[in-house]
């Protein structure tokens, strides 16, 4: 087993960066460079961890880098971290999102604070993904709200204050159910084991609970994660929040924080309450499918590019939920992979839309026409990202959606069949939007926009690279996540099968 110090550094490093960037706020650009530098170090460290990761540590399942320190026995508080294939992928995504968001979506107004909040957000998200203790996960999960709130409320669009508040209230209320559920589970465990209060994941996962309790706790957990993901009908905060947030904030929210929801659903709601699954699976799958169709339909009718991506994210999150709730290893692997791929694709979308907004001052599709003429490179980059989102074979989106659909057809064919139509709908709304914004003859201000600058091109290179590489050669990633998913699904399955 590798030392847990790597994970500790991954958590602390951005906070140190945030502190330094606040200290050098007076010097011109200094805090920005400090931010980018710490993001780069974080990213390199995440890659190092990904290469070091070993999935056969004896006695730890597929976990590596583990440690546990009890901080306060009466509170049941502990520092408990560990990394398996699923969280590994999320850790890489977290550092990637920060790096690209800082590079591609710079906020020059009050830059030190912006960089500081972004780094803090990364630290808390990182900590949530590596937490191996339910209470610790909750604390960091909840803590991500504070930087997100201030990022949206300070650097967002015209309705930023409202959007930020709506985001906070929705997620905070969702978390209320989660906290109650966690505490309840903790006490059930304490009373059964007759010992101390603990929220350790491994201890709680092996707590025998009755079927009824299991269902209620699953609902409490799933509510919080459904709001965060978002899953239809708990998504109503997301379009306005994604649209009003600054580009960097939108990227963090939809590429990363949304994944916290699906990650939580998979790791905690599914992992801890297998008994509830036979009853709850059809419900969640149905909501996921509705989300896919609803998101796609509304995206067709949306006049605003940023909202269009927000609704398309809703549909994509539906696919992820479909995969991880399918109960099959292959579908769950697809779901986890799509969490990563959708993250990358969304970074691409929001960055390019941000670039367009900088040039045209608008997100409205009706204001844009014929952008392909003056900005061919930008259009080409958008096309790659869009095709990946639609699920064109050879690009990353295809692999993950394909795995999800195979897995779902194997276990729940009807849901799979209806969900598959979402792929067609995605093609419809994205191509139609592309047609309106990029095709035709550029008129007025559209005719004179500059093409992507060198810097903008370089920022998008990693995105395109990941989209193409994971489209043709996803094996290294699949090899790392499959053992962990396999273990999770088989921990859940025996009880589910005997029902």
């Amino acid at each position: 087993m590798h030392s847990s110090i790597y994970l500790g550094v991954l958590i602390v490093m951005p906070l140190v960066g945030a502190l330094i960037s606040m200290l050098v706020r007076k010097a011109k650009n200094a805090s920005y460079y400090v931010g980018v530098a710490s993001a780069a170090v974080e990213f390199v460290l995440a890659i190092v961890v990904a290469f070091l990761y070993n999935d056969h540590v004896a006695g730890a399942g597929t976990y590596d880098f583990m440690t546990r320190h009890v901080l306060s026995a009466p509170l049941g508080l502990a520092y408990d971290v560990g990394l398996d294939g699923i969280s590994l992928l999320m850790v890489v995504l977290t550092s990637l999102v920060l790096f690209l968001a800082l590079l591609g979506a710079r906020e020059r107004r009050r830059e030190a604070s912006f960089v500081g909040w972004m780094l803090a957000l990364t630290s808390f998200t990182m900590a949530s993904f590596v937490s191996h203790d339910v209470l610790e996960f909750f604390i960091f999960f909840e803590l991500t709200l504070v930087p997100s709130y201030f990022i949206i409320a300070n650097w967002g669009g015209l309705q930023r204050a409202r959007a930020a508040l709506k985001f906070f209230i929705y997620t905070f209320s969702g978390s209320a159910f989660l906290l109650i559920g966690i505490l309840y589970l903790g006490f059930v465990h304490q009373h059964q084991s007759g010992g101390i209060l603990t929220f350790s994941y491994s201890a709680l996962a092996n707590t025998p609970i009755s079927h009824g309790v299991s269902v209620w706790l699953f609902i409490a957990f799933a509510l919080a994660f459904a709001v965060k993901s978002p899953i239809w009908p708990f998504h109503t905060w997301s379009p306005i929040t994604y649209a009003e947030a600054p580009t960097g904030g939108s990227i963090e929210l939809s590429a990363l924080l949304a994944k916290l929801g699906s990650y939580g659903l998979l790791r905690f709601a599914i992992g801890l309450f297998p008994l509830a699954l036979p009853d709850m699976r059809p419900v969640v799958l149905t909501l996921a499918v509705i989300g896919i169709l609803y998101g796609s339909l509304v995206a067709c009718a949306t006049p605003d590019l940023k909202r269009l991506v927000a609704y398309s994210s809703l549909a994509q999150m539906g696919f992820i939920t479909l995969g991880i709730m399918s109960g099959s290893v292959i579908g769950t692997v697809g779901g986890v992979l799509l969490m990563f791929n959708h993250g990358v694709i969304t970074i691409g979308f929001f960055l390019i839309i941000g670039f367009i907004e900088q040039r045209r001052g608008s997100y409205q599709i009706k204001d844009l026409t014929g952008l392909q003429g003056p900005a061919p490179v930008l259009a080409a980059l958008f096309t790659v990202v869009m095709m990946a989102s639609i699920g064109l074979p050879g690009l990353s989106g295809f692999v993950s959606e394909f795995l999800i659909l195979i897995g779902t057809f194997a276990t729940h064919p009807w849901w799979g069949a209806v969900g598959a139509t979402g792929v067609i709908a995605a093609a419809a709304y994205l191509l139609w939007a592309y047609q309106r914004a990029f095709h035709g003859k550029a008129t007025g201000a559209n005719a004179s926009i500059p093409d992507a600058t060198t810097r903008e091109r370089w920022v998008l290179v990693p995105v395109v690279l990941l989209i193409v590489v994971l489209g043709v050669f996803p094996k290294p990633v699949l090899d790392r996540i499959t053992p962990s998913v396999d273990q999770l699904v088989h921990h859940v399955a025996p009880t589910a099968a005997t029902k």
Partner: protein, 491 residues
């Protein structure tokens, strides 16, 4: 004829109360001897010394209790146990911070003399008595001493009509509450034959009360009296007006010291004396908590005056503190103790910032006066933002663990639904805390006046922020201390 028997007195137990009373009397004499200008320095010095002395006594008391166990003295009317020691310490610390804030405030407002400190010390002595009381009569005594000082303090700012109005309102309603409380004491005596909490508990555990009307009526009236003092809905109507009217340092005292005293006494009455009647008082408390949490949070949403806003916020917080009482277990008592212990410094520091922003005349309390505060003065504004986040219960601040412990105690006692409602009320409360915090970072219209932060007030604010962050990151020692304190609970 029997000779009057003087009960044995353990002076270590009484030392904190005596110190505060003594300091109050010393100041009274001193202020007559020195000129008014010098008096304020003496007052702050004496008060600070007395407060530190009380905290040191608490350490000695703690060592004594750890060694000898919990004990009673003065004919079982005063108790010395871990729980009382923690409460004593909290009141000592809160008094110290309040004295600092009040010093700078008095200098700014050109209030000569030591009157504020004399009254505040006397009030705190009452709170100390409530924390240690093991007898309904002593609780009443503490309650009255606490309140009478405060009635005067609320009306201290005679130039503002709001201050007079607040004082009158507080006096009238507080008087009613005291009357109701003492009537409850009388009925309780009638029902159980004693006013001593241990004797009541013993009586109720040994006897089945066949016609419990008297007992229920007495308990109900006691509960109403307490609900008034902690401003639980529907007995909260006085609190926004009084919070707004009182000079801001006094508001800080009311939100901290009063809450420590009242909750400590409430816990003793309900858990030690009436613990056997748990099933009777729980439903009442259930309704009280839901109303307090929800009304406090919702009505705060529409407040534009910061002191009124914080009044409703503290009503909402009182709802959370009641959760630990509802639990009715040692875990619950520990949780409520943890809550008041950590809430006191945070809320005093919050009102210290409000005192500073209030400016000369103590009038600038509209939320607009806070616009861009953190832009102009990052340290002051940032401190207030942290204090607000702590009251909201954001993780990494002590407020999170305060809420966490009371919710844990509630759920452990089977109150999942109650905990959920309380937590959802915190989501409503988040709206106004966040809006307030965001106002601090607003960069719209910028007021040019820079707020001067005097050293003592700055120290009090820093103390509150340090408590909020330090124990937010590292709550372990505090949680363990409070848990041990409650294990030494009597009986």
């Amino acid at each position: 004829m029997t000779a009057l028997v003087i009960p044995s007195i353990h002076y270590l137990a009484l030392l904190p109360v005596l110190t505060f009373f003594g300091a109050s009397l010393v100041l009274l004499v001193l202020s007559a001897l020195v000129s008014d200008k010098v008096a304020i320095n003496w007052a702050t010095g004496v008060t600070a010394t007395a407060s530190i002395a009380v905290m040191v006594y608490a350490a000695f008391q703690w060592a004594y209790v750890a060694h000898h166990g919990a004990s009673t003295t003065v004919a079982h009317a005063i108790v010395l146990d871990g729980f009382a020691v923690v409460g004593t310490f909290a009141i000592g610390a809160a008094m110290l911070m309040s004295a600092f804030v009040a010093h700078d405030w008095a200098v700014r407002e050109r209030i000569a003399g030591a009157d504020f400190h004399i009254l505040a010390l006397a009030s705190s002595a009452g709170a100390l008595l409530m924390v240690q009381a093991n007898d309904l009569i002593v609780i009443f005594l503490g309650l009255e001493i606490l309140s009478i000082g405060l009635y005067v303090l609320v009306g201290f700012d005679r130039h503002r009509s709001k201050s007079d109005e607040g004082a009158l309102k507080y006096f009238l309603l507080g008087g009613f509450a005291s009357a109701i409380f003492i009537y409850g004491v009388a009925l309780m005596y009638g029902a159980t034959g004693s006013t001593n909490l241990s004797s009541i508990a013993y009586f109720l555990s040994e006897n089945v009360v066949l016609r419990p009307g008297l007992l229920y009526a007495g308990g109900g009236l006691l509960l109403i009296g307490f609900a008034f003092k902690v401003a639980a809905v529907p007995f909260h109507a006085w609190s926004p007006d009084v919070y707004e009217g009182a000079p801001t340092p006094v508001t800080g005292v009311m939100a901290s010291i009063v809450k420590v005293g009242a909750f400590a006494a409430l816990l003793r009455v309900l858990i030690s004396a009436l613990g056997t009647q748990l099933d009777t008082w729980r439903p009442i408390l259930f309704a009280l908590i839901i109303l307090t949490c929800v009304v406090g949070a919702s009505v705060a949403l529409v407040q534009r005056n910061v002191k009124r806003l914080l009044a409703y916020s503290s009503i909402n917080q009182a709802g959370f503190m009641l959760l630990g009482v509802w639990a009715g277990t040692p875990r619950g008592a520990a949780a409520t103790l943890f809550y008041v212990l950590t809430y006191a410094p945070v809320v005093i520091a919050t009102f210290a910032v409000v005192t500073l922003v209030g400016g000369k005349g103590d009038e600038r309390h509209s939320i607009d006066h806070y616009r861009g505060l953190a832009r102009r003065q990052p340290w002051l504004g940032g401190a207030l933002a942290v204090l607000l986040l702590s009251q909201l219960g954001a993780p990494l601040t002590v407020g999170f663990y305060a809420k966490f412990t009371v919710l844990a105690a509630t759920i452990d006692s089977g109150g999942g639904a109650l905990a959920l409602v309380a937590l959802l009320s915190a989501a409503i409360a988040a709206v106004f805390y966040l809006r307030f915090a965001l106002t601090l970072y607003d960069d719209g219209e910028v007021e040019s006046t820079r707020i001067h932060v005097p050293w003592l007030t700055g120290g009090a604010i820093a103390a509150g922020v340090i408590v909020a962050i330090l124990f937010g990151i590292w709550p372990g020692p505090l949680a363990t201390w409070v848990q041990h304190a409650t294990l030494l609970f009597l009986p």
